[in-house]
């Protein structure tokens, strides 16, 4: 029991400490999914993609693994090489959060395919998570 609480505390602290990085990981993962879909559809190898991005295949592999984040130079290289354009879509989520907070936990904005949530609100709910996680352990014994 105590180890569960401890792990949940660690997870909570890690979230709080790395909130910006986690938001970056969500964005990075979405970009990689889209790029990989394009790559497969057009028969582009990972080696060719790495060349276009100006990095070696090992580095690209790290980006695919989310150990490293993609950067703008890499995107520009891919864009130039394959004659594609990455969309830029800036949305103010603060107003949406005021409207939607009464029925949703976190504010969100919608892109073409996805809804992405505001990590600042995510952090605020952190203490609740820790409590619920430890409560869950108690409940799970009764499943």
């Amino acid at each position: 029991m105590s180890s569960t609480v401890n792990i949940n505390e660690l997870l909570g602290k890690a979230i709080a400490k790395n909130i910006v990085r986690y938001e970056a990981i969500v964005m990075n993962t979405q970009l990689i999914i889209e790029i990989d879909e394009y790559r497969k559809k057009h028969g582009i190898t990972k080696k060719q993609l790495a060349e276009a991005a100006g990095v070696n295949p090992a580095y690209l592999s790290q980006v695919y693994n989310s150990n490293k984040l993609i950067n703008l130079s890499m995107l520009a290289g891919i864009s130039q090489k394959f004659n594609i354009r990455f969309g830029l879509d800036i949305q103010d989520i603060s107003k949406e959060s005021e409207i939607k907070l009464d029925h949703q936990s976190f504010p969100l904005y919608e892109t073409k395919k996805t809804k992405v949530y505001n990590f600042n609100e995510f952090t605020k709910e952190l203490s609740g998570t820790l409590k619920q996680c430890s409560d869950h352990k108690k409940v799970s014994n009764g499943y």
Partner: protein
């Protein structure tokens, strides 16, 4: 007997609204009997010196990336991929810093009052995978996942 499952958001409630895909509904579950091991996997230490005990940020980062791929309804070899397309067994990959763990999952196509959705169930933890290719241990793990009675209701 059918295996009981619990939503990932009941274990990590804040993951509920981190990411959702408006194109396809995907729901992530964990087998109830696996919850404790799953939390320990996220919070456990690695084998190499570079991995600091108690630093869960790495695995949490990895799980977050995997979570996005799953919720996207996509596959991505480095993070989440189909191991058996016939039986819809998939693997979440946690590879780096002295460990090479896999979470084997089962995907089910389900339907409820809100329409069709994909139910992904984390069903088995396979620690310290040794080789890139699929050994008999991995084949056994996949067979074991297939043998679990999992359905849309539980």
């Amino acid at each position: 007997m059918c295996e009981s499952t619990v939503r990932i958001e009941n274990i990590l409630p804040n993951f509920k609204n981190v990411f959702s895909n408006s194109k396809e509904r995907v729901e992530l579950f964990v087998r109830v009997s696996l919850v404790q091991d799953f939390l320990e996997l996220l919070g456990g230490k690695g084998d190499k010196k570079g991995y600091i005990e108690g630093d869960v940020s790495y695995r949490l980062s990895k799980f977050l990336a995997v979570y996005v791929v799953v919720m996207y309804g996509a596959y991505q070899d480095a993070l989440y991929r189909l191991e058996s397309s016939k039986e819809r067994v998939t693997a979440m990959k946690f590879m780096d810093k002295g460990f090479n763990d896999r979470l084997y999952c089962r995907e089910l196509q389900c339907r409820d009052g809100n329409g069709e959705y994909r139910k992904v169930i984390i069903s088995l933890i396979h620690r310290k995978k040794k080789t890139d290719s699929m050994s008999y241990k991995e084949k056994n793990a996949i067979e074991k996942v297939i043998s679990y009675e999992l359905d849309c209701e539980h």
